[in-house]
Symmetry: D2
Subunit: 204 residues, 4 copies
């Protein structure tokens, strides 16, 4: 019995029902998570490029769009335990280009920017509250890294009873093994997975 069989036998990996209205969450597609010399590399640039038409599709439909950035205080006063595991996180300050959303995905006026200091875009932020005021029950998630901030965001999304969809060619990671392993986990337990070409499955 292979692993997918184990999950199927336990009736996991089913399809989450379609939502009424979906926001797009662009997780940490900032310069520092593209650059292989900071936290990027792997397929992160390719995933960001694949996000361009997805972003257009959400803009065309005037659906809520959220961009997250990891931003620490210049004086390090909000650095925490995570920065011990990954010390270069502390470099991601407000004015460091490494913390800025990459040019090809630049946010427009009225789109929501969430600054965060932890993996999940929901954790200790007002994202859940803001999405409530936008009458959203579902989220489509893209960004970097698949095995890090994307997965943490997806787990929090389903925990808060949002209906999560991961757009699989629009999430990227510095390394292929964790990327694949986390796509598997999310498909089995936390999200629907679709390709960028299948957006029709989430728009009503």
């Amino acid at each position: 019995m292979d692993e997918t069989d184990i999950y199927r036998k336990q009736q996991m990996g089913g399809l989450i029902g379609k939502g009424r209205r979906t926001a797009l969450i662009v997780v940490d597609f900032v310069n520092g998570f593209i650059d292989p010399n900071i936290f990027g590399g792997g397929n992160t640039l390719e995933a960001a490029e694949a996000t361009v038409p997805v972003l257009d599709a959400f803009r065309d439909r005037e659906l809520p769009i959220v961009f997250s950035r990891i931003v620490y205080a210049d004086d390090g006063s909000d650095a925490g335990v995570w920065c011990e595991k990954a010390p270069r996180l502390g470099e991601l300050t407000e004015n460091n280009p490494a913390s800025h959303v990459i040019d090809i995905l630049r946010p427009r006026e009225g789109e929501i920017i969430i600054r965060k200091t932890q993996p999940s875009v929901f954790f200790d932020t007002n994202l859940g509250s803001i999405l409530r005021s936008h009458n959203v029950d579902s989220v489509a998630v893209v960004g970097a890294t698949t095995s890090g901030c994307v997965r943490a965001t997806v787990v929090d999304a389903i925990s808060a009873n949002f209906r999560p969809t991961v757009i699989s060619d629009c999430v990227g990671d510095r390394a292929a093994g964790p990327h694949e392993a986390n796509l598997f986990d999310m498909q089995q337990k936390y999200a629907n997975l679709i390709a960028a070409g299948e957006l029709g499955r989430i728009f009503t």
Copy 2:
């Protein structure tokens, strides 16, 4: 360059500093996560057995001990999106033995029981607040499954600035691949990993 090298080059995977005082979190070691016909199987029983002396060590030192159980209302009124992905979760009601902590790890009076409906023991529960009143800055995490509720709990722990340690032979999963992949992710990004025989590294 293999994957560990990529993480090392980005200065991830470091050691989190030792805490002052550590609570033990026993995640979902309930009958339904041991039984291969519900959500268990794999190495979950073995991991639960390896937890017995760990639990004793925390009891000997009178450190705070937390047990989590997934418990849904009998009438399903609190079932959410996660139950669409894994419908059998809804069977885990208060009086179903599948939701009860396994006999060999039975909680004692005064130990903390957290009922939850989502993967992380911290999510939408008072665990963080209770641990504050116990003057804890660190958590040791054991339980099932490695790729599910253990990992979600560890990510929330470090996000809330607890210092997490995963006791690697005391976490179990229904399938080996996700077990190993999630141990890798946690080691690189969210926790220190130790063996049950190395508890001295977390006790001061």
Copy 3:
């Protein structure tokens, strides 16, 4: 210039726009918050009686209904700092009738019960997540006490971008001064206030 003028001059006390769909939150209408020898007295019984037709109105429209109860563990393992300020809170255990919703408002199958250990029904509970899955953007709040758990719940509700309405004759308090003062604060800053006879203002 009297106090209402000060608020008006600062453009506070306006009307919150009507929501799409409203849940009823019945805060701590349990025996112990009616009984003047525990935490009740004042106008709490009168407020509970006035809630009966309100509850009927929400049931008739099949809108979500939530009841909160303060419930501490039998062994006191989850008692916190609030219990130092009000030590008798710890008596409110699962099987103590003082923690049970009063008979005239008895919850029906499928209605949501939130057990909590803190003033706000939202704090460290899954209420916000459950209401999301019920597609609710507004809450009507009744219960006891006005100056305690009702107000804390209302402040959390508006903070989470729910549209709160307090039904003023269905909230009660042990003492008249705090009751009136907190109705004033909520009207000026956090909620619309209506009488039980004006429910039409929240149903669409």
Copy 4:
């Protein structure tokens, strides 16, 4: 029986035990909450002036110090329901002097700044997590307004098992009635009250 007697009979209003280590939280002492033409007036300036020596005392002891500011996005993308009740909140953007901490209390490098969009400094922010990394179990609260953001912060503090003390001459409000009423509620239910001259009661 007057109101204080009612609370005493129900064993409320007791003293919260002394903490190990206390952070100072300076709530919204920004220009816009001093200026009577925005959200200030009343005794807010007097309370801010009384805070100067309190701030010095915490700095002398090298205890953690937190300043909150209400800050909304320039494009209004994070404005929520609270802004319907008090529309001028939306003016408090990053570069508007009304959102800046008043000069006499100017934060120093390394002191924590929390930007927020809701009454409580804890709500949807990382304050609780940051205070955990500072090994704090208690908070002293000063700021404006007593009946608004101060009280909301105090209720969240005790709910999260911090030991709250309100420094009564360092909290201010636009109007005297709500100021007094909320001091009463906090004393009876959520905090110890001390005068600025009694700081010795919270330092160990």
